[in-house]
C-alpha cells in the first residue's frame, strides 16, 4: 500500500511536470491543464492511501469530511472563476493565490497549535516561517487583486519604509518566539506575527506599480511554492517538497521573464516603486496605467476585433512592416484587424496611406474615420500606435480645448485601449491628451518599432 501510494505520487509528479511542459505550447496547453487536474486528483487519493496504510483502518468519517470539503471548495472555486469576465483573469489568479497562502498559513497554524509543546526548534522555524510566508502571500495577493481591479490606487509615500519596518518586526517576533526565554506568551507571539505578516504583505504589494502587477503575482506565486516545499519537509511528504520546489522554480523564472519583457530589473519593480521617470510635466495629473508587451500580446490574442490607429509616431519609428506582421499573426488567431486612418494623421495628407501601402496592407483593411469609429465600437482592443492628437478626447469633451470640435477617432468606444508611444509628451497640436489617463486605457512607453517587435516576438510561438 505504501508502495502503491508512492507510485501514485510518482505518477502524479510526472503528470504535473508533463502537464506544465504541455502548457508551454499554445496548441497543447489545454491538454496540459487536464494533466495537472489528473495529477492533483491522483495526489490526493495517494495521500488517502498512504495515511490509510499507516493507520490500518479506514477512517470513513474523516474521508467523508475531507471529500465534502473538497467538493464544496471545488464548487466555490468554479463559481468564482466563472463569475469574472475573461479580461479579468489576472485578478482572479491573484485572488486564488491569496487563498493558497491563507491555506498554508492555516495549516501551519494547526500544526503549531496541535503540537505546541512537542515542537523542536527546527519544526518551529518551519511552521512559524510558513505562517509568515502564508500570510504575506495572502495579504499581498489581495492587494494585488484590488490594484488590478482598479479599485485601489492609493500610493503611500513612505511605503518602502513601512515595508521594511513590518518585515523587521516579523523577524524579531519570530526570533523571540524561538528563544526559550521569550518575552511574549507564545500565543501573543503568534497573533503579533500574524498581524505584522499581513501588514508586510500589504506594504510589499502596495509598493509595486500597477503595470508591474503581473510580476508581483508571479513572485507571490513562487512564494507559495516555497511555502509548500517547507510544509512538505514538515509533513515528510515527497510530492509536496518536489512540487513546491517546482512551483518555486517556475515562479522565479516567470518573474525574471516578465520583468525582462517589461524592460525593467526586478529590483526596480519592487524597490523602485512606481515612478514613471519619463514623465514630462503636464498641467493635468493623469493617472497612468502602464502595461507590458506581453500583456498587450495576450490582450490582442484574446480579442476578436482589433482596431489599429496609426499616427505620426508610426512613421517616425518606421514600424509599418512590423504592423503587417502583427496583423498577420493576429489573423491566425481568427482576430480581425483593421487600420483606422484619421484624415490628419501624420504630417501630410496620405502619410499613413504611404506607410501602409509600403507594408502591403490591403486597401480593404483600411478604414476611414467614419467606418473606423463604427468598427471600433464593436472592437475589443483599440491599439493606438504613435498617434496622439487624432485620438485626443478633449476634442470631444473639453469646450476650452483648442481642438474642440475636431472629429477624432473614438478609441474609447473600444473595450480596451492600448497606446504605444515613447513618453507622455504631446503631439503636433501640443495639447495634453486625457485619453492616456482613462480607466480602460493602458500605456506602453516605447519606440513603436521596438515595442511592436517585442509584441510580435511574444505572439510568435516557436
Amino acid at each position: 500500500m505504501i508502495l502503491l501510494a508512492n507510485y501514485g505520487y510518482l505518477t502524479a509528479t510526472t503528470l504535473f511536470v508533463v502537464g506544465m511542459i504541455l502548457m508551454g505550447n499554445p496548441k497543447k496547453a489545454a491538454r496540459g491543464n487536464g494533466l495537472l487536474i489528473l495529477g492533483m486528483i491522483l495526489a490526493i487519493i495517494s495521500t488517502f492511501a498512504l495515511s490509510l496504510s499507516n493507520t490500518g483502518t479506514i477512517p470513513w468519517n474523516k474521508i467523508i469530511l475531507i471529500s465534502s470539503l473538497i467538493l464544496i471548495g471545488t464548487y466555490l472555486g468554479r463559481k468564482i472563476s466563472f463569475s469574472f469576465k475573461i479580461t479579468r483573469m489576472p485578478e482572479l489568479v491573484s485572488l486564488f493565490n491569496g487563498f493558497g497562502g491563507l491555506c498554508a498559513a492555516l495549516i501551519s497554524l494547526t500544526g503549531i497549535i496541535a503540537y505546541q509543546g512537542e515542537l523542536n526548534i527546527f519544526t518551529k522555524v518551519i511552521l512559524m516561517g510558513s505562517l509568515f510566508l502564508g500570510l504575506v502571500t495572502f495579504s499581498g495577493s489581495i492587494i494585488a487583486y484590488y490594484k488590478l481591479a482598479g479599485k485601489l490606487k492609493s500610493k503611500l509615500s513612505n511605503n518602502v519604509i513601512f515595508m521594511w519596518i513590518t518585515l523587521f518586526s516579523c523577524f524579531l517576533i519570530l526570533f523571540d518566539g524561538l528563544m526559550e526565554s521569550n518575552t511574549f506568551d507564545f500565543t501573543i507571539s503568534l497573533v503579533l506575527l500574524s498581524i505584522f505578516s499581513l501588514l508586510h504583505g500589504i506594504f510589499f504589494a502596495n509598493g509595486v506599480g500597477g503595470g508591474d502587477m503581473p510580476v508581483l503575482i508571479s513572485v507571490l506565486n513562487g512564494l507559495t511554492g516555497v511555502l509548500t516545499a517547507i510544509s512538505g519537509i514538515y509533513f515528510e511528504n515527497t510530492i509536496m517538497v518536489l512540487l513546491g520546489v517546482f512551483v518555486g522554480a517556475t515562479g522565479l523564472i516567470l518573474t525574471i521573464q516578465m520583468s525582462k519583457a517589461m524592460n525593467k530589473s526586478i529590483r526596480k519593480v519592487f524597490i523602485g516603486g512606481n515612478k514613471i521617470s519619463k514623465f514630462k510635466p503636464t498641467d493635468l495629473e493623469l493617472k497612468i496605467n502602464e502595461t507590458s508587451p506581453s500583456s498587450i500580446a495576450s490582450d490582442l490574442t484574446y480579442a476578436k476585433k482589433v482596431a489599429i490607429v496609426p499616427g505620426y509616431g508610426l512613421a517616425i519609428a518606421q514600424a509599418q512592416k512590423t504592423c503587417l506582421e502583427l496583423k498577420q499573426l493576429l489573423n491566425k488567431y481568427d482576430t480581425d484587424v483593421k487600420f483606422v486612418i484619421h484624415p490628419v494623421a501624420g504630417r501630410m495628407p496620405g502619410h499613413m496611406n504611404v506607410l501602409l501601402a509600403e507594408a502591403n496592407i490591403p486597401y480593404e483593411d483600411i478604414l476611414d474615420l467614419e467606418q473606423g469609429n463604427e468598427y471600433i465600437a464593436e472592437s475589443d482592443v483599440c491599439f493606438v500606435i504613435g498617434a496622439n492628437d487624432v485620438v485626443n478626447i478633449s476634442a470631444e469633451n473639453e469646450k476650452t480645448s483648442p481642438i474642440y470640435g475636431m472629429p477624432i477617432i473614438q478609441t474609447y468606444k473600444s473595450e480596451k485601449v492600448v497606446v504605444i508611444k515613447r513618453s507622455l509628451s504631446n503631439g503636433y497640436a501640443d495639447i495634453q491628451n486625457p485619453l492616456f489617463g482613462e480607466e480602460n486605457c493602458r500605456m506602453f512607453f516605447m519606440d513603436a518599432k521596438i515595442g511592436l517587435e517585442q509584441i510580435v516576438v511574444d505572439l510568435k510561438e516557436r
Partner: protein
C-alpha cells in the same frame, strides 16, 4: 531492487536538483502570451499544500476543536485555490482553441 530503488545515498538531492531544473526549463522558453495561464496553472499546483491539511485531518483526532476547524477551513480555502486555478486556466486556454495554425 525490491521495494526500494535507490541509485545512491543522496538521491533526494538529485531529485530536488533536477526538479528545480525542470521547473526552470519548463518556463524559460514559453511564449509570453502563455505567462498568465502558466502562472495560474502553477498557482493551482502549489495548492498541493492541501495535502498537508488532509494529512492533519487524517492523522489527528476529529474533535470539534479549534485545530480541526482551522484545518477544515484550510483545506476548503486550499481547494478553492486548486479548483479555481484550474478553471481559470481552462478559461484562458479556451481562447487559444480558435487559433488556426
Amino acid at each position: 531492487m525490491e521495494n526500494v530503488f535507490s541509485l545512491s545515498p543522496i538521491d533526494g538531492l538529485y531529485t530536488i536538483l533536477l526538479c528545480v531544473l525542470v521547473g526552470i526549463e519548463v518556463i524559460r522558453n514559453v511564449p509570453a502570451i502563455l505567462h498568465t495561464p502558466l502562472m495560474s496553472g502553477s498557482n493551482a499546483i502549489s495548492g498541493i499544500i492541501i495535502i498537508g491539511g488532509v494529512i492533519q485531518l487524517l492523522e489527528n483526532d476529529l474533535g470539534l476543536n479549534f485545530t480541526t476547524i482551522i484545518s477544515c477551513f484550510g483545506v476548503l480555502i486550499g481547494t478553492i485555490n486548486v479548483s479555481g486555478g484550474f478553471f481559470v486556466t481552462h478559461r484562458m486556454l479556451k481562447m487559444f482553441k480558435s487559433s488556426k495554425n
